[in-house]
Symmetry: C2
Subunit: 425 residues, 2 copies
Amino acid sequence: MSGCTAFEGKNLNEEYGKLREAYEGYKAQGLALNMARGKPGAEQLNISNDMLTVLTPSSDFTTSDCPDCRNYGNLDGLDNTKELFAELLGVDKKNVFVGGNSSLNMMFDTIACFMEQGCSGEKPWNKQEKIKFLCPAPGYDRHFGVTQYFGVEMIAVPMTKTGPDMDIVEKLVSEDASIKGIWCVPKYSNPQGITYSDETVRRFAALEPAAKDFRIMWDNAYIIHDITDTPDTLLNIFDEVKKTGKEDMVLEFCSTSKITFPGAGVAAMAASENNLNILKKRYNRQTIGYDKINMLRHVRYFGDLNGVLAHMQKHRAVLEPRFNMVLETLDRELSGLGIAEWTKPNGGYFVSIDVMKGCAKRVVALCKEAGVVLTGAGATYPYGSDPDDSNIRLAPTYPPVEELEKAMNIFCICVKMAALEKLGA
Amino acid sequence: MSGCTAFEGKNLNEEYGKLREAYEGYKAQGLALNMARGKPGAEQLNISNDMLTVLTPSSDFTTSDCPDCRNYGNLDGLDNTKELFAELLGVDKKNVFVGGNSSLNMMFDTIACFMEQGCSGEKPWNKQEKIKFLCPAPGYDRHFGVTQYFGVEMIAVPMTKTGPDMDIVEKLVSEDASIKGIWCVPKYSNPQGITYSDETVRRFAALEPAAKDFRIMWDNAYIIHDITDTPDTLLNIFDEVKKTGKEDMVLEFCSTSKITFPGAGVAAMAASENNLNILKKRYNRQTIGYDKINMLRHVRYFGDLNGVLAHMQKHRAVLEPRFNMVLETLDRELSGLGIAEWTKPNGGYFVSIDVMKGCAKRVVALCKEAGVVLTGAGATYPYGSDPDDSNIRLAPTYPPVEELEKAMNIFCICVKMAALEKLGA
């Protein structure tokens, strides 16, 4: 995408006219298609339906650590649920906290806790002068929304094919003690589907931040969400920080929202004992405990990690054709034109596409006019502002395949129209 | 309990010796009885078991406002669940926010929100000088824990038989703009089981606080938790604040924790549109939404408010004998002695007893030594400190009746022993 496009030398207005005609044809259909959010589709939701009746009135509600899961108690979750997440995350059970239905909420509460209480013996973040967070971009809009809510200044860090640009990350955190953390989606990153390389993970584990209370928010949302035969592998960051003695620097999050039911799943985090002690001081005031019936429902349904992994194969069967559809359409319609570049992820929930600079908002607007809702342009950058106005996040999971096909055709037309407009059509 | 006890003129040491003998007899049994927390017992949990299988793989997961309750979305809850809570609370559906599994967590989040964002156009509470909260006492320890967590100074206000002493409440809030709120359990108060009189509710609705951002935290935890044929009635505070034009002053909370399953119930709040708008700004950053499958499970199980009320009769059938056991034992063992006074609630989860001044801690310690765990003495006061060391909260719901009987016998012995020790035995 450096300069020269396939439209050089062509009659731009003629090309544009043809596209406009196709576009108007779609527009006349009064479509309502949505590729905006990373939501599982109905077929995926059905996969987990049997979990609903795993617990019945005659079930045994006793676990090793709880006389009755239906009652109050067990602030940090059931032991058997901690075990399952410990296995999934590759950490010790004692480092796991099992929470409610949302890992986003756990991340929010974690930031809120450090704002109020501080960590590593430093002053609470809200009692310090201006504090800052690094935001690899493009990234997850809801992460940025959390730090924005608390008035944390956000600094965008460019993403590379191996993760955030670590030269920049290392330089910034070692020089500026007001930088208190960084948001990471280390596997199948949102939106690019990039998995951090081993070197990137090791450099994270070896960071030498100026701030003692610097924290890595390691949102492993797509930890087992593979969609191809060549899944990515991610180094276990807790193994690495053990080697560098920086266990307090990392907090890892995950959930079953995209394994069982979004909104009715179970969220968990892994953290050092020091961090958990700080967080539990807050949680102990905040709640008596989370939904243990739903924890038990999950554990009884899956049995163990193998059960979870087998379950993910069913998701893959639904998702792979959708991603293929998106990528094949992009290849067919846009490759070689010099007006767009995109990622081909082995998992996760998104395809990220960079259109010509200054064109993303126009593409999203054109799509909207034709009945195709996309994630807002800029949403993948802190403060919702993409300096190049170039990145668009496509979410192929929710619409049925036939709708997806139509939406992708419209999308590609809009990318070309916006490019031609920029080129002077 | 004013001065003269039934032990006047008796040989205190002889009386004490007899009690000590009975006490040692119990102690030798190595008991482990618990009257500490307001937890439903196993029999009560069984009442709701059929709810577990209300939703099955073949259920319809569509509601009027949600194409699929299994998926993300609906930040403030399902419409049908809002309707159910609106009916329960006697408010408009548009004033209801349905949340997660814990009303305590909603209250915590509400305080956290006002700390961060402020309300009524005033500065965020955490940007103001020292702020204060009124705490009717004895009261609910977890309420006090929330404000303590946020560094809010707590001022105890005495409870009367008709609710908090409103002369004091009115005077304090009208004079001191740093007082930002008050904790209330208006029906079957924790721990005394007192229901605020109509006059008390009206005086709350007519408060003229010096602080524009003063808020009443109206925790209606026991709204339909009657245990006798003569249940208390509570005036609807939202009807009253409508008359005084102070809708923004009240936030009401409730949950099904003690209707269906503690920890796997559904919590809700009622608030003015202004307050909900402030709270939704936070919630919108905090989560994508709460567990709608559990909301739907509840609504499908109950049908409507009549279903909920019929359900509560089953709880009453379990609880009434327990409360009777506690009250009969107190009457038999302690009435007329001049060493203790207690409440006879028509609902709720507790019996509150005031023993002789300076004796509560001793009673709790004696009980503990004999294998009976009570709520810590002082827990019902802000900062866990009862100035009279007199109040003890009894929670009759959790132990089986035969254990409760034993525990109450031991408790009464301990109350008498502590009194005699104070009198000089």
